[in-house]
Every structure is written in structure tokens, then in C-alpha cells.
């Protein structure tokens, strides 16, 4: 055998092998995205920032940004690949309603039922969505794109994915990553705004303890809630229908197994799938654009506006309430639907000024109202712009 031809053959094989490795397709964009994925993993593991979300998303970013030779049916955007099949649930909006089913099955609306006026805070905080919508229009986005960006202000990942998949699928990756990132950063973003807008006297307001809520009221809440909200905004049916259905499973008291499945294995499976595929959808070639940067900036602004809307609404609302019935404006931030993180922020900031003033239970009211409010807002945007 000719030694030269053998080396030539080996060299050719090695060269071909190299062309199949990720190194030959690597770009600076892939490296940037992988770094972002690693930062997500660091924040989740080291600082426990929303680990249930950031670990699947962060690892998904790593998976999605390993470059490969196209045509091997392995990429998330290649039809027939495993990732593409799993991504179907995101693109077609299957996963978000299933997550809402689980959220409904694990949410206790007692705080809201015992003090129903807190629902209005959940409505006021949706100002973040529409503030970001107007800002996005000002930056030149089309209304459907602006709506997909604005929904980040609802601080609700599944809703953001659901709406962006319908109105602006090309922005879904950036919107989802932005929404989940800022949800994880709620403890960083909200306190400065809350402190800036409130006086020391307001922060010390003590609220009346919530009354006990009967079983009948808890059962009636999801039924009335569904009928009322979906009769007004039928386009919110996929999210609100599942939310209230999950809650009825929990509160009816006769479907314990179904409720446990919805709030346990089902939501866990869907969270894994949605997190991983949304992360993997951020391929540098499609994700790293100037629009993504603008979406990130608008997302941060929307959280600030949402917090502003909630806190200011409480301050104005207090003008009409009698002494003893007043609401501590530090729970205004909880009107965004980042459950229970924003309620936890209210509690932490409240304790900084009065060690015995526990606001957590009160903040859970607007917090769960925010879930309903953001789903209603998404339904409205979908109804108008689809």
C-alpha cells in the first residue's frame, strides 16, 4: 500500500470529520449565547434565582447553540427533529394552557376572596403591558410585535409565550427569555421603584387580617371567575379556562388525585419541556439581532412601569378608603403575576421598615389577581390584533 495515499486518505477523513464538528461552524454569536446560558445556570444554581425556570432555559440555550452541519435533522428549527417535535407545543401554544392548569391547581385564591378589592391592584399593574406596547410602537415595531413585547410586563412566562407564538412567532424566543429573566430579577427590579414611590408612613400601614373563607366561596370563585372573564374576553379562554379549571379541581375537594397530578407531575413535565425548548430556540443565528437587544430593554422598562402602576394605584385608592381599611402600597408591586416572587418582595421590603408587619398574605391577593389580569390583557391583545 502506498504510504502517501494512506496519509492522504486519513487526512481527507479527518478533514471531513472536522467539518462535522461544532468547531467548524462556531461563530462569535454562538459563544455569546452559550455565555448567556452559562450565566443563567450560574444564577439559578449559585443564587437560586428561579432555578425551576432558569436551569431548563439556560441548559436549553447551550443545547440550541451548539453549532452543527445543517440537514442532519438535529436542530430545533429542522422539521422532524426531536427538538422540533417538542418545540411544537410552544409554537402551537399547547404548553402555556397546561401550565396554567397546574398554576390553577396550586393557587389558593383565599386572600383574594377575603379582600376582593385587592383584585383592582392586579388590573392596575397591567399598565406595564400597555406602557411597553406604546414604547415598542414608538421604536418602530408593528402593533402585533409591540403586543408580544408588551406582554413581558405581565411578568407571566406562559402568557408571554402564548401571545407571542400567536402574534409574532419570530420574536417568541426573545420575548420568552426576556420575560423569564426579569421574572427571576423581580427582587432586584421592584424594590427601588417601591421605595421611591412610597413615604415611610405609607410603608408602615398595617392591614386588617384576612377573614376566613368558606368552602362554598372557594368553589364558586373559579366558576364565576371563568364565566365572567371569558364572557368579557373569550380570546383569553385557553389560559383562563385552564387556570380556573385547575383551581376547581383543587377546591372542589372531590378530585384530589386530578388536582395533585395537575399541580405536580403534569406541570413539572410541561415546565421541563417549555423551558428546554424555549432555551434551545435561541439559536444565535436567529436570536442575536438588534431587535432582541431592544426587546430586553423594553422588557425591563415594562416591569418598572407595571410596578409603578400597582403602587401608584394603591396610593390613589387609599385616598378613598377609611382609616383602618387602608392598603399598604408596598403590596402594589405584587399586581404583576410573578407568583409568588413579587408577593415575597412585598414581604421582604415591608419587614425592612417594621419587623412585625407581615405583608405576604395580603400581597398574594393582588399577585393572583395579576395572573387573571395578565391573561385577560393577553386575550384582549389577541382579540384585537390576530
Amino acid at each position: 500500500m502506498d504510504i502517501n495515499s494512506l496519509f492522504g486518505f486519513l487526512g481527507e477523513n479527518l478533514s471531513q470529520f472536522f467539518s462535522y464538528t461544532a468547531f467548524s461552524h462556531m461563530t462569535i454569536g454562538h459563544i455569546i449565547m452559550m455565555t448567556i446560558g452559562l450565566i443563567f445556570l450560574y444564577l439559578a444554581i449559585r443564587h437560586e434565582f428561579e432555578p425551576m425556570l432558569l436551569i431548563p432555559i439556560g441548559f436549553g440555550i447551550l443545547i440550541g447553540n451548539i453549532p452543527f452541519m445543517p440537514g442532519l435533522r438535529i436542530g430545533i428549527y429542522e422539521e422532524g427533529s426531536v427538538l422540533n417535535i417538542l418545540y411544537f407545543g410552544v409554537v402551537q401554544g399547547v404548553y402555556p394552557p397546561l401550565i396554567f392548569l397546574g398554576i390553577g391547581a396550586m393557587t389558593d385564591f383565599s386572600a383574594l376572596i377575603s379582600n376582593p378589592k385587592l383584585m383592582l391592584i392586579g388590573a392596575a399593574a397591567q399598565l406595564g403591558i400597555f406602557g411597553a406596547y406604546m414604547a415598542s410602537l414608538g421604536l418602530g415595531f408593528m402593533p402585533s410585535e409591540a403586543a408580544a413585547i408588551g406582554i413581558i410586563g405581565g411578568a407571566d412566562g406562559p402568557t408571554a409565550i402564548f401571545l407571542s407564538s400567536r402574534l409574532a412567532p419570530h420574536l417568541m424566543g426573545a420575548v420568552a427569555i426576556s420575560a423569564y429573566s426579569y421574572m427571576a430579577l423581580v427582587p432586584v427590579l421592584q424594590p427601588p421603584v417601591m421605595k421611591l414611590l412610597t413615604s415611610r408612613r405609607e410603608r408602615l400601614i398595617r392591614m386588617r387580617p384576612p377573614r376566613a373563607v368558606s368552602h362554598l366561596e372557594k368553589v364558586m370563585f373559579p366558576i364565576i371567575g371563568l364565566l365572567l372573564t371569558c364572557l368579557i374576553v373569550p380570546s383569553g379562554l385557553p389560559l383562563l379556562g385552564m387556570l380556573f379549571f385547575g383551581n376547581l379541581l383543587k377546591e372542589s375537594g372531590v378530585t384530589r388525585r386530578l388536582a395533585e397530578t395537575a399541580r405536580g407531575p403534569l406541570i413539572d413535565i410541561v415546565t421541563i419541556l417549555i423551558g428546554l425548548t424555549v432555551g434551545a430556540s435561541t439559536q444565535a443565528t436567529t436570536f442575536l439581532t438588534f431587535d432582541s437587544v431592544r426587546i430586553f430593554l423594553l422588557g425591563a422598562a415594562s416591569f418598572v412601569v407595571a410596578t409603578f402602576g400597582g403602587v401608584m394605584f394603591v396610593k390613589i385608592f387609599n385616598l378613598f378608603l377609611k382609616e383602618g381599611n387602608k392598603i399598604n402600597p408596598l403590596i402594589g408591586n405584587a399586581g404583576v403575576s410573578a407568583v409568588p416572587d413579587s408577593a415575597r418582595v412585598s414581604q421582604v421590603v415591608g419587614l425592612q421598615y417594621d419587623k412585625t408587619n407581615h405583608l405576604l398574605m395580603h400581597a398574594m391577593g393582588p399577585n393572583v389577581a395579576g395572573v387573571i389580569g395578565s391573561a385577560v390583557a393577553a386575550g384582549i391583545l389577541l382579540g384585537f390584533l390576530s
Binding site: R211, A212, I380
Partner: protein, 331 residues
């Protein structure tokens, strides 16, 4: 407390029984006024709504036709003949295979549309064209009759007798189609433009996003409208639950007063319940007590085993069939 719980659990049951009685009374009243047929018609009308229709062949409509085609649309064979357009009004795919087309009311099954052809599936809000050329060998969409003289057309369901849609049309002019003013629903008229396999009304619909871009470039109208709707939805919930809460407390108190004799220990419990809202410390104390009770329950078992005589004579446990090994047999 037990009496109070009974009162609370029985409230929904009572509400349910009252609602059931009201429903039964309404049903009997309607039946006496409308009769069985009227009631069925009313039920059908209540069940029907544009948004609630499923994907059924009953969603198909005769939509447009051209009887004298001398210089118009050609088929795949380059021939001109009369054509009939059928429109799927639903938002789901409907398969027309198995249905029948006819120009004779006494023979509804004149042309059975073949099953098994993928092309007979009509996508949501889409059309399909049939050629009335009496050349069924040309394919699925070529009928075995012409429509030159009957002035009648009927589309029948696969059961062969349920008429889905029918049309009696006037005398036709050459190369002028006769169609609905709006796809699937409009009145029939002579069309200004012939539109086979496309919408009868070619409205240039502006995309919703473009419309908002043109009329609301700053997003102010959207913000005001959407925030109003969000507030409306949550204010409605607020108002309902404000009064539901009050009513629930009132009902519980009322039931408690009725059931519990005056001066009994349970009466004292009810009076405590009425002092809403209770301080958080009370709930914490109750929760601690319950927790401790549960923990003690798990540690202190009764250790009593009760064996009762079973009345049944036979049980798998005393059957010898299950305890004896089968004797090997030579085959």
C-alpha cells in the same frame, strides 16, 4: 363546630336542589307550552351558534355556479363546461367524500362523491369545484350529469336523504356566474365577476395590525380600551365576591342560628365565627394544635387487631384449588 360544618356543607346541596327543582319546573312548563317537537326545535336552536359548529358536512354550502361556460374557466382537460362551487363555512377541514350531488329532487343520490380521495377534504373556509360535464371518468370532480335544463341543484349528506343545501336558480346567461353575495351565507345573485375557487366578495381586508398602525400609531386607544376591559373584568369579579362573601357569612350565621339550640356550646362557637375577621394568632394556634394532634395520632396506634367471622362460606383463602400443586400428567 360539627353542627356548623354540617350547615356549611349542606348549603351547596340545598342550592343545588333548589336549582334542580327550578330547572325541572321550567322544563315541564316549556314542554306543556311548546310540545315535544317545539322543545326539540328550541334545543336545536339553543345548541346552534356560529362559533359552536363542529367540522361536519352540514357546514358545506352551494356557493356559486356557472351553467353556460363558453369562454370561461377550463378544467384539467382544457374543456369548458358548467361548474358548481361548494364552500366549507366552518373553521375545520370537512371531507365531502360520501356526500351526493344531484339535479333531481326525486333522485338525491345521482352522483355519489367518491370516498378515499384526499382532494375531497376541504380546508377551513375554502372551496371546491365540481364540473357538471357528464364525464365521471375524468375524475372525482366530474359529475355524471349536466345542469343545462333542470334549474335545480341539491347537495345531500352521506346518509342519502338529509339535504345539506339546495338551490333553484333562474335562467342563466352565458359566462355569467350565479353565486352568493358573501361566501356561504349571502343572498344569491348574478355575479359581476366570476370567482371559481375563490371568495365571491374580494374584499381587501386590511390586517388588524396594519389597521392599528394606521389609526392608533401611538397605542393610546389600545391602552385605554384594553385597560378599561381589564378593569371591567376585575371590577365585576370584585363586586360579585364582595357580596358573595357577605352573603356566605350571612347564610352560615343564619344556618348556625337555626340548627344550634340557644345556649349550647356550639352556639358559642358560632358567635366566635361571627367575629370576622379573626386575628392571625387564632389561626396559628389552631394550626399548631391540629399539627400536634396529627403527630400524636401517628405515634400512638391502638395496637388492637379485630378479626371478624366472614359470613361467606367460600373464599379464595380457604380454597384448596389455590393451595395444592397440580399433579403432573402424562401427555
Amino acid at each position: 363546630m360539627k353542627t356548623l360544618n354540617n350547615a356549611m356543607t349542606s348549603t351547596p346541596q340545598r342550592l343545588f336542589s333548589v336549582a334542580s327543582a327550578a330547572a325541572m319546573w321550567s322544563f315541564s312548563l316549556l314542554r306543556s307550552r311548546l310540545g315535544r317537537a317545539g322543545l326539540a326545535a328550541l334545543a336545536a336552536a339553543l345548541l346552534w351558534s356560529p362559533g359552536a359548529q363542529g367540522q361536519r358536512t352540514t357546514d358545506l354550502r352551494l356557493n356559486e355556479l356557472m351553467v353556460i361556460n363558453s369562454a370561461n374557466y377550463e378544467d384539467d382537460f382544457g374543456e369548458r363546461s358548467a361548474w358548481i362551487e361548494i364552500f366549507n363555512t366552518s373553521y375545520g377541514t370537512v371531507n365531502i367524500g360520501g356526500c351526493y350531488l344531484s339535479d333531481d329532487l326525486n333522485n338525491l343520490k345521482k352522483y355519489p362523491i367518491p370516498k378515499g380521495d384526499v382532494l375531497t377534504s376541504i380546508k377551513p373556509r375554502q372551496h371546491v369545484i365540481f364540473w357538471a360535464d357528464n364525464k365521471p371518468t375524468h375524475g372525482t370532480f366530474h359529475l355524471n350529469f349536466t345542469i343545462d335544463d333542470t334549474r335545480f341543484l341539491v347537495l345531500t349528506s352521506s346518509d342519502g336523504h338529509t339535504i345539506i343545501d339546495s338551490l333553484t336558480y333562474p335562467e342563466q346567461a352565458a359566462d355569467v356566474s350565479y353565486g352568493r353575495s358573501e361566501d356561504g351565507v349571502g343572498e344569491w345573485h348574478f355575479c359581476e365577476r366570476t370567482t371559481p375557487s375563490t371568495n365571491n366578495t374580494l374584499v381587501q381586508l386590511e390586517a388588524a395590525s396594519d389597521r392599528f398602525k394606521n389609526y392608533d400609531p401611538l397605542g393610546i386607544a389600545m391602552t385605554i380600551t384594553a385597560m378599561s376591559v381589564v378593569f371591567l373584568a376585575l371590577i365585576s369579579l370584585f363586586l360579585i365576591f364582595k357580596y358573595v362573601g357577605k352573603t356566605a357569612l350571612w347564610v352560615i350565621a343564619l344556618r348556625g342560628r337555626r340548627i344550634i339550640p340557644k345556649g349550647s356550646p356550639a352556639q358559642v362557637t358560632v358567635s366566635v365565627e361571627k367575629q370576622q375577621p379573626s386575628p392571625g394568632a387564632v389561626f396559628a394556634a389552631i394550626a399548631c394544635a391540629l399539627r400536634r394532634y396529627e403527630l400524636e395520632m401517628s405515634e400512638l396506634e391502638s395496637n388492637i387487631l379485630t378479626i371478624n367471622k366472614v359470613a361467606k362460606a367460600y373464599s379464595p383463602w380457604n380454597s384448596k384449588i389455590y393451595t395444592l400443586r397440580e399433579i403432573p400428567r402424562k401427555k
